[in-house]
Symmetry: C2
Subunit: 343 residues, 2 copies
Amino acid sequence: MKKKTVSIKTIAANLNISVTTVSFVLNGKAKEKHISKELTQKVLDYAKEVNYKPNQIAQSLRTGKSNILVFMVEDISNNFFSKLARIIEDIAYEKGYKVIFCSNENDDKKSEELISLFKYRQVDGFIIVPSPGIKSTIKELIDENIPVVLLDRYFADLDCNSVVIDNEEATFNATTHLINNKFKNIGFITTDSDQTQMQDRLGGYQKAMTKSGLNAQVLKIPYIATSDSRSKDYIRSFLKESKSLDSVFFATNYLAQTGLEVFKEDAPHLIHDLGIIAFDDNELFKIYDPTITSVAQPLFDISTELMKLLLPLLKRKDVKETTKNILLSAELKIRESSGAKVK
Amino acid sequence: MKKKTVSIKTIAANLNISVTTVSFVLNGKAKEKHISKELTQKVLDYAKEVNYKPNQIAQSLRTGKSNILVFMVEDISNNFFSKLARIIEDIAYEKGYKVIFCSNENDDKKSEELISLFKYRQVDGFIIVPSPGIKSTIKELIDENIPVVLLDRYFADLDCNSVVIDNEEATFNATTHLINNKFKNIGFITTDSDQTQMQDRLGGYQKAMTKSGLNAQVLKIPYIATSDSRSKDYIRSFLKESKSLDSVFFATNYLAQTGLEVFKEDAPHLIHDLGIIAFDDNELFKIYDPTITSVAQPLFDISTELMKLLLPLLKRKDVKETTKNILLSAELKIRESSGAKVK
DNA sequence: CAAACATACTAAAACGTTTTAGTATCAACA
DNA sequence: TGTTGATACTAAAACGTTTTAGTATGTTTG
């Protein structure tokens, strides 16, 4: 009935030895600390018998390590981030870390609150998709020697570990692919954001257009208008204004989704008539009609690189010694929607 | 340089009072414990000045509460679960709880490992999508007075809080909808699982078929074969064997995805010719061609009901007092794919 | 004027670990 | 014979809180 949780203390008491000895044995320091073979075995056996599990809270308090990592993204329900989360979860658990996920909605205030929250919760490390204005907060973390790796975007003039894809290369290649397929009036639909990933994506598109002597046609949707209804209106106007468009490049997965919805609602034929490329792949793109060409980020590589950066930092005394910026290439999944079916 | 973290002890020392007093004030017990207005204010002011944040690990150790909840699902990268996660995250944070997500892959061993892990990590409560064989593990949790709410499925003969949708009603209605639209040879593609949610879904389908005097045609794909390639083969055979099928009902979102892929690969016309319903909605279904009819689970209601059950338990002494089993209705999103376009 | 009560504050234990700085015993060496 | 060194073990502090059980005053009350 009164099933007391078994602690090191109870083990020590029941075996008539000190807690120190028990602790040493349980931490595998028996040899080093000159605990006899017999006693060591006795403790081990007894611990197993009573199913002893260390109280990790107590361990954390004493050691200052919580074995908890934070994975902070824009929105955990976004397919891209949840897929990453799944992979990171596996790697972390294998290494004895648990992961707390949270969504910052790309909002500075929320990001800062969450970071502060977890800092005082003594988490061991952060993987962060930073909102635009938290450079100084990130810097503080680093200065306090707390391991951080940035994901998806970074701050140009902040020396911080990061894993991002080569967005410029990706959109350059994708745009070039459209151009090679005889598309000429390629519209680029993006968000009005200063963040590196969006700037780079825009840059790659512009570079490809310029290189081919084509006219860039860009729609920047204010970030506030990400709510479906309003961004649909922006897209509608854009399509109306630039009547000559023969193809559209969506710079994020949710924009692609919204855009396809607009097509579906207003003029279904556009889905077949226009060339379409979406940034970020989706499982359903390959079974859409037409199948949708997309820029697929290497989920597995991103996750493993993130953890390859973060894990060593957790052991390190000085976090700042070496910072690395990993740049990965995205893969263009060429499907029907970018095919050579010019009007 | 030497930025010592500020603790209750340093506050007490600097103010020349006892830690007890500081603790009382900081916990809002000043009045109750007869701390004078002046001193109370002094402590409050000083704490703010030095930006004191309690060490939650220490608090947890002392109080036995971690303010951490576990949200354990089959696969956090599955759209259904990640959407739920996002909502639950918000509710939890608002109430001062953090959430650890984990994926059990519907595997008993992994589920048990994770539960054990978190139990000894002193999490305050669990939301669990249980794998088939962990009834006794769940029972142990309850017996140890640890708050648990089951999600999506449950154990028939275990008295445990749960939030599930009325799967039988949902598939009954959906199947009936197909029947009303003149479909007669309706195939039901599901997994070979004994779990309640799958049994109920099958049951609802069968009930509707029987009621209309139609012949049930069911494909049960072994759970092990959930890997794409093998389940595709099962679906292919099923379509070949039952040549007369005029419609298909997919019992899970990943089966729908796999099925649509098979159509796309083998006989694209089927997507338009067959009646199609998928269990679980997907953002892209409403922009597919044809748009796909689906059974949409009420994500918001499920999440809020889960938290409405769990939160009070966290405060309660005895978890077993009242257990509630919440049954929610799913919504049939009627779209083109189930329309009256019989061959 | 003593007992009772209210007010203002605190010492110290407790939560369950880890780790430093020991002690005690015995053998070996010189 | 006394120092050195290895072996086997432990007491107690520390991590930062919360909380129980106080103490020391001053103020009513019968």
